[in-house]
Symmetry: C2
Subunit: 371 residues, 2 copies
């Protein structure tokens, strides 16, 4: 097959509703309940819509295989194991991460309405996609929300070359009069997904992003990607890099903050000890703060909107690149892709076709991409 | 006068109790109440003890002058202007920041004990020293705490060269069986205090730390320091620098998170509009999460201690530099300086002498330093 390829190597377009249909059916066929499948599909497709392809349907295979093999519990029902007013702890029973975290977010938003603020922690969970989807859900319920998770160990805390921390997203959302303002980014300088993208495009990486197994900076993209996947001693560096000169101790401390919340405070494993004993064992957390508890929520939302407006209106360093607020690019892309379809790599379409055959559902319908 | 100077230019040693005595007396003579003076002195001296000289008694003059001139309200009594269970808002009445934030922290720790989690915001406040002092206070009360503040605008959000954000510390603390684990660092790559220190030592700065008024990277230390102080269009860069390559969008979003909380959510000014109309107008926030609401606090503390132990035990990149956990260096320095005295610059001693004369209190007693 030969197809037009754009800069990112995309060759196919898939309608968002069709991609959701396929994802729900594949998860259902693998054993997930209806609600679990629908929530998980929404989170995956939202990532593809927003340009976070590394967390979209390219990851569907691991969910389908996990449910099918039983390494992810098909029958999990998140259970409240501690309930102390504004603080709850959920046991996800080793089910899909998305529905567990969705339950946690709805519970946190509800408790914040009741008490003003709330914290809900999740233990014994699995990968949950993009944290931003969950934070935006809580923001739409009238709160400022932080959401995070730990993950497979890939990041070396400053001073060591041992990958101990996950890429632990720093993520928050808050309502504005023009929708939600939402940031969601790994606390490593770059994510493994970014390196995988460079690998596909044959583009170089920079020093300060990763260390090789000898503890020295590495700039070989393919070996770093493979070394991270197969856990051969390669490590991503925290935001700020590997030393104090550019603030590596700060990025490391930010990642540690999330380790503490998702690990010992949630009663879950911290990243270094996840994926042991046949379970992911991941932890997540949600903080919500109700705007209504602080004052008139319309005034607060307007203040947030005004702040965002003034930053966007700042004198741009590059006259061609207006200043952006977190979420601006993602919201614009989502709108466009909802209307025009989601561009997908040839390799991802092939993977979805293989999933369809493996699990016995109607393959996804894709159109040739001519972006 | 000629004195031994160590690497940092220190020439004098002052006993911690004597420095506290002097600071309390100077603040009292300038009009502060006893409790206000004592809390403020504790926070300032804790900074000097912990090696954060930029936030120690080197800043006493601005407090004394502010109280004396009336630009800081001598008679302020922090007032609860919103009380909704786990969420409160305090009006600091333009008083000293330290006693206002201390009231907020104690209130937040109390409400977290009652509700599990809490958020207390402060508006109409002033500079409050090191956030870590406050977070550690809340951690000693059995909570994981985040504390932050906005500040004079010095940091350019990614994409613009306009200094709009404060250096907005990211700060948290959590109890461990061996004391508190506490991180406290500016969300800019470096603080202005760091540049001032390099200026004194005649050492160079790196690119990626600051922009000049033309929007291009600057590496001239004296002009950057002066340009920041006199607000001549110089700007510090967020953690991760000025572009996406090393995660400038992430540092910028972290700083924005603190702007949102300390500005529109607290009903305070955001950094860009602080220090206008004769008041600092700063905002602070405190989040507390009670360990007891999550489970057995001894087990949680032990889990935090174990995580910290494993990170410290990581294979060091530099065999001479063991891996550190946030707070390790500061705690060690504090212990040493409590025993041996606090090293202080000649210029700071001269400043304290001038304050003593101006406000009419017994000068601080300093010993020649022979570190």
């Amino acid at each position: 097959m030969t197809h037009a390829k754009d800069l990112y190597g995309w060759q196919w377009l898939i309608d968002a509703a069709e991609l959701t249909r396929f994802t729900v059916e594949a998860l259902r066929a693998a054993g997930a309940g209806r609600r679990e499948a629908e929530v998980t599909a929404q989170v995956l497709v939202a990532a593809d819509l927003g340009g976070v392809e590394s967390h979209g349907v390219a990851r569907l295979r691991r969910y389908v295989e996990g449910l099918h093999s039983g390494s992810i519990n098909r029958h999990a029902v998140p259970e409240i194991v501690a309930d102390n007013g504004s603080v709850c702890v959920l046991d996800a029973q080793n089910g899909l991460g998305q529905p567990a975290l969705c339950t946690a977010v709805d519970l946190a938003a509800d408790r914040a309405r009741q008490f003003g603020t709330s914290a809900v922690m999740v233990r014994r969970s699995n990968h949950m996609g993009i944290a931003g989807w969950f934070a935006e859900r809580a923001a739409r319920a009238g709160t400022l929300a932080m959401v995070s998770t730990n993950a497979v160990p890939q990041v070396a805390p400053m001073g060591t070359n041992e990958p101990m921390f996950g890429t632990n997203p720093f993520c928050y959302a808050v309502p504005t009069p023009q929708g939600t303002l939402c940031f969601d980014g790994a606390t490593s300088t770059v994510s493994r997904g970014k390196l995988e993208q460079l690998d596909r495009l044959g583009e170089p990486m920079l020093t300060g992003w990763a260390l090789g197994p000898d503890g020295r900076p590495t700039t070989g993209v393919p070996e770093t990607v493979q070394g991270l996947i197969h856990r051969k001693g390669y490590a991503l560096l925290p935001l700020g890099g590997g030393d104090k000169d550019h603030g590596g101790h700060k990025g490391s401390a930010l990642s540690l903050f999330i380790e503490l919340l998702c690990g010992p405070l949630a009663g879950a494993q911290w990243s270094r000890h996840t994926y042991q004993g046949g379970e992911g064992g991941l932890g997540h957390f949600v903080f919500c703060l109700s705007l209504e508890a602080l004052g008139d929520p319309d005034i607060i939302r307007a203040g947030v909107g005004q702040l965002a407006h003034e930053v966007r209106d700042g004198n741009p360093v590059d006259p061609e690149a207006p200043v952006r607020i977190p979420g601006d690019r993602r919201h614009r892309l989502s709108e466009q892709r909802n209307a025009e379809g989601i561009p997908v790599l040839e390799s991802v379409v092939a993977d979805l076709d293989a999933i369809a055959e493996f699990i016995g559902v109607t393959p996804v319908s894709a159109m040739t991409c001519d972006i």
